[in-house]
């Protein structure tokens, strides 16, 4: 299966391809064009240019009712005047499926989403989580070629949201159906997806597996939108292979990964250090770059403690550490050595910024 389009609806060009059985997420801040992209795929919007291909067939101008795509909307869009059964049966009725088959398939699908026995209730009588499951059942019962999900978890409370993530991912894997998921929540995107497409201002910023996006952000926007990060401006002093040496204005010198090998001596870059890869040590470690610093802030989140430290040369850095005795002892004012375990060099030009 293949979908590809470039649209200009204040969006695009965007090229997205979903493979069979793949869970793809469109991730981005509000207004980045992710819902528009989903609507184009579903046929709810026709792009001014570009194509939507389904298994090689051009469906760009095909009306949504002929596309066989299951869509779950942000507010679920359950028909409030129809019972749960009628909601789930709707797509089957439109396909003129025999009555007995409809009853059987609706019951099976409600069983599958873990909601048996609510057939005769109206959507207004269900909880948010139940409504979400009905919406998923209604989209899946027509055995669509692809499942499209428009921020389906954003209206649930935090605990439920976490559970539904896993349930939804489970269901998608069991059915082996391709899915496009739209969200602004990076945790959601990472936990659920095989691949993530990061959108910004109607354009693709970067796409790849969650690991690729986290480890090798292509731009400053990607680095800052996904996870926490420390960015230090610098200039490449020496380049060679997958490693570059970067000098920073505070007099620092970092050996940074630059996997694409495109950086040259003299390029303006950011040194990117993820907070969990910045260690805080009481003693100066041997054989590794370490910056003398003082803790300025301590943010306790239960499992993780995030520290803000200021190096003696004036850099403000964040470090997140497990909540164990060694780190619990650190408080604002504590003297530490900030140890850079691993850092990346990120080109500074054309980075979009945030």
């Amino acid at each position: 299966m293949l979908k590809r389009y470039g649209a200009t609806l204040g969006v695009g060009p965007v090229d997205v391809e979903v493979r069979e059985g793949e869970f793809l997420t469109l991730l981005g801040p509000s207004g980045c064009g992710k819902t528009t992209t989903l609507h184009v795929v579903a046929g709810l919007l026709f792009p001014d240019e570009g194509q939507v291909l389904l298994g090689g067939r051009d469906i760009t101008r095909l009306d949504p009712q002929h596309r066989d795509m299951g869509v779950v909307f942000q507010n679920y869009a359950l028909f409030p005047h129809k019972t749960v059964f009628e909601n789930v049966a709707f797509g089957l009725r439109m396909r003129k499926i025999p009555r007995d088959d409809i009853a059987r398939r609706v019951a099976q699908m409600l069983e599958l989403v873990g909601l048996p026995g609510v057939e005769s209730r109206l959507p207004g009588q269900l909880s948010g989580g139940q409504r979400q499951r009905v919406a998923v059942a209604r989209a899946l019962v027509i055995e669509p070629s692809i499942l499209l999900l428009d921020e389906p978890l954003s209206n649930l409370d935090a605990v439920l949201r976490k559970r539904m993530r896993l349930d939804l991912r489970d269901l998608q894997q069991r059915l082996g159906i391709a899915a496009i998921f739209v969200t602004h929540d990076q945790d959601e995107a990472f936990e659920m997806s095989d691949r993530v497409v990061l959108l910004n201002r109607g354009r693709i910023e970067q796409s790849g597996t969650p690991e690729e996006l986290y480890d090798d952000p292509a731009t400053r926007f990607a680095a800052e939108f996904i996870g926490e990060t420390n960015l230090i401006e610098g200039i490449v002093a020496a380049a060679g292979g997958a490693m570059v040496t970067v000098d920073t204005p505070d007099g620092g010198r970092y050996d940074a990964f630059a996997p694409d090998g495109r950086l040259r001596s003299g390029d303006a870059v950011y040194v990117m250090i993820r907070p969990e890869r910045l260690d805080l040590a009481a003693e100066r470690p041997a054989g590794i770059v370490a910056l003398p610093a003082a803790v300025t802030k301590r943010i306790f989140a239960g499992d993780i403690i995030t520290f803000e430290v200021r190096t003696d040369r004036g850099l403000l850095l964040r470090s997140s550490k497990p909540s164990i005795a060694e780190y619990r002892a650190l408080t604002p004012g504590s003297r530490v050595w900030a140890v850079v375990r691993d850092c990346r060099a990120l080109p500074r030009d054309g980075s979009g910024g945030a």
Partner: protein
Amino acid sequence: MTEAAGRFGRLLLAPIGLLYLIALLAPISFFLVMSVFRYSALDLWVPTVTGENFRRLLGEPYHRAIIVRTLKIALFTTVGCLALGYPLAWYLARTRSAWRGVLLFLVIAPLMTGVIVRTYGWIVLLGSEGTVNSLLRGLGLIDRPLKILHTELAVLIALVHILLPYMVFPLFSALAGQDPDLERAAHTLGASRARTFLEVTLPLSQPGIFMGSALVFTLTAGAVVTPALMGGKDVRMLGQTIYELTMSTLNWPLASAVAFVLVLCQLGILLLYFGSGRRAA
């Protein structure tokens, strides 16, 4: 709501409650009582209880015809407003055009001119020397002017036009309040535009249909000026009948009986509306 807020709320409702008491309950009780009094040419009425007024009203073909005609015109006006108003309300609710505000204003604008002005407008258009007849004759389609004015059709046309805003607004708010994703969802599930309308849009606009219909029906049934001007002596309705019985014939007991029947019809429609409204909710 807290107890204090409840008490405060009731206090705020006091003026309107007083107004209703004086302007609605008092006259209704007045004509309820009057409708069973005996008519007297000398004293206007004598306070002896009689069923004669209702017997005349429901027994005499002349009066029965007026009741039937009133209900018929009210029904047709309601259907006419619904047929013309629904597409308009739907368009207004769905359009993204920058003109939406202007169009909404144009829908209300007629309410700002008086009923009489608009009715005279229709007389100019529909009279035997009116615009419509002149045009048809000029085109050679007819030899003698058509009699449009002073027919039920004329009353109907004018009432539909005048009462259209009362239909459009409830429909508009019912349609505009619908989540646009509902129609999208129906499409993605395989429903054509027509099916989506019948299965989703129409049933969900039901409260607006009931509200608009109840408004238009009760306003038509009680209309006085427009039927009088457009229908003349030939198309008599309950409103005019009450007016004439009260002001010229001075048969107040019979007038009260007519008013009683009219209010009963309107109340029936309103009960039907609220009954179905509660079922829908």
